[in-house]
């Protein structure tokens, strides 16, 4: 008998029929003798509809009231899922985030989980109940007001509960079969991975394979929660995300990630002295602008050029900040390019394996793709290239590293 945490996304509980299917799936686990905690998202478009109503009434809705509003969506699907289970004769109870003991900080609309007191959940499990938890929400300690966890909040709820409850597994049900060697929309013969390490998943996710939000992968890695990403529409086994295995597989490159929604900013003529990088990136952080890859080359005569990428839709805001900083630190000028994209190869030990980087560059070269920037980490090598060549690059690399085909 295991303790299993399951999370069903908005598509999986998007209609009465689908909630019935989810209940059937949960029932099967229940009858196999497992203890179950099930986290649900809001049904289908509920959250978008609520946001839409809110914005019609107030273009800048108060974050506290926004959370009060949005948290209803998950409460509704939690109640309905519990009822569907009860209809199958299975004892079930629906809990709000607060009732599930999920305490967050007070940052409404994008709160972070601070502490979980699973007392009520444990009590209900003890009584033999399946516990259905409204995802995406918690409460702030000062007033007990409801908070929401922002994008990917229900994944975070599930992983955090799995960590606190020391669950045997955390299953994330979604509308795809798992994590693939590349985006199947770009590479038709992309292959589903049976296993991927947390670190590789982080790179795949941050590079655009957005099945699960980064913060939840991070959380799972920190608390060593084994996670399975799988489809709620079939019985396929999904992809296990966990600790890297001791015996390395020979196949070093796990997958190809890409992202076409980036822009590049370059600061020319930056005085190369201690504290300069901090001066540039601190104000971006304060504006919550997410900086992706950063490249700084060796300096000549005490000055250097510094490039980095941001999400395309944050380019304008980032430029404003950077242009001001550039003046302050006496840099020569700021350039930008919003016609770039990136492609990465991801895999454990990639950087330390001779020849892999060279092979990547060779494949791109043979396709006539110019590399404009390179960054590397332990487990990925990223190239910034022209945006319109990204998909071609993904296919070439997927092919070149032999990732496709059947298992």
């Amino acid at each position: 008998m295991s303790l299993i945490v399951q999370k069903y996304g908005g598509t999986s509980v998007g209609s009465i029929e689908r909630i019935k299917n989810v209940a059937q799936r949960i029932a099967k686990y229940y009858h196999s003798g497992h203890k179950l905690v099930v986290v649900v998202s809001a049904m289908g478009d509920t959250t978008d509809e609520l946001i839409d109503m809110a914005e019609k009434l107030n273009p800048n809705p108060n974050p506290r009231e926004m959370d009060f509003l949005l948290s209803s969506g998950e409460r509704i699907s939690a109640a309905l899922t519990a009822m569907a289970l009860q209809n199958l004769g299975i004892p079930a109870i629906a809990l709000s985030g607060k009732q599930a003991g999920i305490m967050t900080d007070s940052v409404f609309t994008k709160a972070n989980i601070k502490k979980i007191d699973p007392k009520r959940i444990l009590e209900e499990l003890e009584k033999g109940k399946v516990v259905i938890v409204a995802g995406f929400q918690g409460y702030e300690p000062e007033k007990g007001d409801v908070t929401t966890l922002g994008r990917g909040g229900s994944d975070a709820t599930a992983v955090a509960l799995a960590a606190v409850l020391k669950a045997d597994i955390c299953e994330i049900y979604t509308d795809v079969d798992g994590i693939f060697t590349a985006d199947p929309r770009v590479v038709p013969n992309a292959k589903k991975l049976e296993f991927i390490s947390y670190e590789e998943m982080l790179e795949m996710a941050s590079q655009g394979a957005q099945v699960m939000q980064l913060r939840s992968v991070d959380l799972a890695a920190t608390y060593h929660v084994p996670v399975v990403v799988r489809s709620s529409f079939n019985e396929n086994s999904g992809t296990l995300i966990g600790e890297v295995k001791e015996v390395e597989s020979k196949q070093k490159v796990k997958g190809i990630a890409h992202n076409k929604n980036i822009a590049k900013i370059t600061i020319i003529g930056v005085p190369d002295k201690p504290g300069i990088a901090h001066k540039i990136f601190a104000p971006l952080g304060e504006k919550s602008i997410n900086v992706d890859d950063i490249v700084q080359n060796v300096s000549k005569e005490g000055i250097t050029d510094l490039s980095f990428t941001v999400s395309e839709r944050e380019l304008n805001e980032a430029l404003k900040v950077v242009q001001e900083v550039a003046k302050e630190i006496g840099a020569k000028k700021v350039l930008y390019d919003n016609n770039v994209g990136k492609v990465s190869i991801v895999g454990w030990g990639i950087q330390s394996t001779p020849g892999i980087a060279a092979k990547m560059f060779g494949i791109l070269a043979s396709e006539g793709i110019n590399i404009e920037m390179i960054t590397t980490s332990e487990i990925k090598i990223t190239c910034i290239i022209r945006r319109d060549l990204v998909e071609k690059a993904v296919r070439a690399l997927h092919d070149g590293f032999n990732l496709g085909g059947e298992d």
Copy 2:
């Protein structure tokens, strides 16, 4: 400066446009310097839609989960109303029933308010905020789970809050202009009443003028809360419901109430001895069958006949119970009639004013309407008649007692 509790029903907050209108109305009061606590129902058909989804998943949904589900409707409208006010530059905060301190018993789906701790409301009022409270809900003390108050629950929320906060007035906004001398659909020249006493309102409401639920009128009477029933769609002044005035108005008959959805049960040959009435009505109460008027005439030779009315849709269940009891107590037989209706004249001091009853019976007689049963109380006289004559009777009585016309 007054403290005003307002309640807006589902129709009044039934769309984004209507919520905007409600916000405008609240704003006017706010700018006049009043302190405001506003109770809202769920938008339009939200509650019915949620019930519908629940029943598709489970024909007998668990009451606890039902309340968890349904309470979302009022949370949504409370959040949206608060946002609409904030958009007008008015500080506002949305509170759930629990946050508003509304403790109930543990009878899910039809809980009764037990205690209100208005600490949070007072704090927020102190900060100058308009407090928007999700109606129809509270929490039970054992687990802190959300409960709902059943039919008319938002009225009860408003009146109870007004009582605890010692509000100057409780305004119930609805889609009618107030309480009328008779149902305007039956009597075209029915007149809106400027004032009606709690007791008269109770009789009007229980007789079918269903603007406000009985329990809330009762609550208002118990705690001496002055209530105004008025429309949220115009500026008309509505009807004030309050303590009976010291100087009685000459007009003793306030209004005509009627109900066509009743059925009559008669037990023939009931042994006339102590405890018999209890034996008959206790099992009906246990089945939650609401018994309306009861008539028992003087007995002859130790036996009597006993008649009472029930709601038409509870007739079958009531008959089952009564037939069993009749056997037990040795009554002769049970008759029923589901082709009856009733008409009442309502007004303070009616019973003790000579000639009023006679006038009523005379009016009915002159219309050729046969009276089948009569019951009276301090403030009403009710006649049971053929159902198809009810509307004719209402019009004749409204006319005969001169209730119509302009103010």
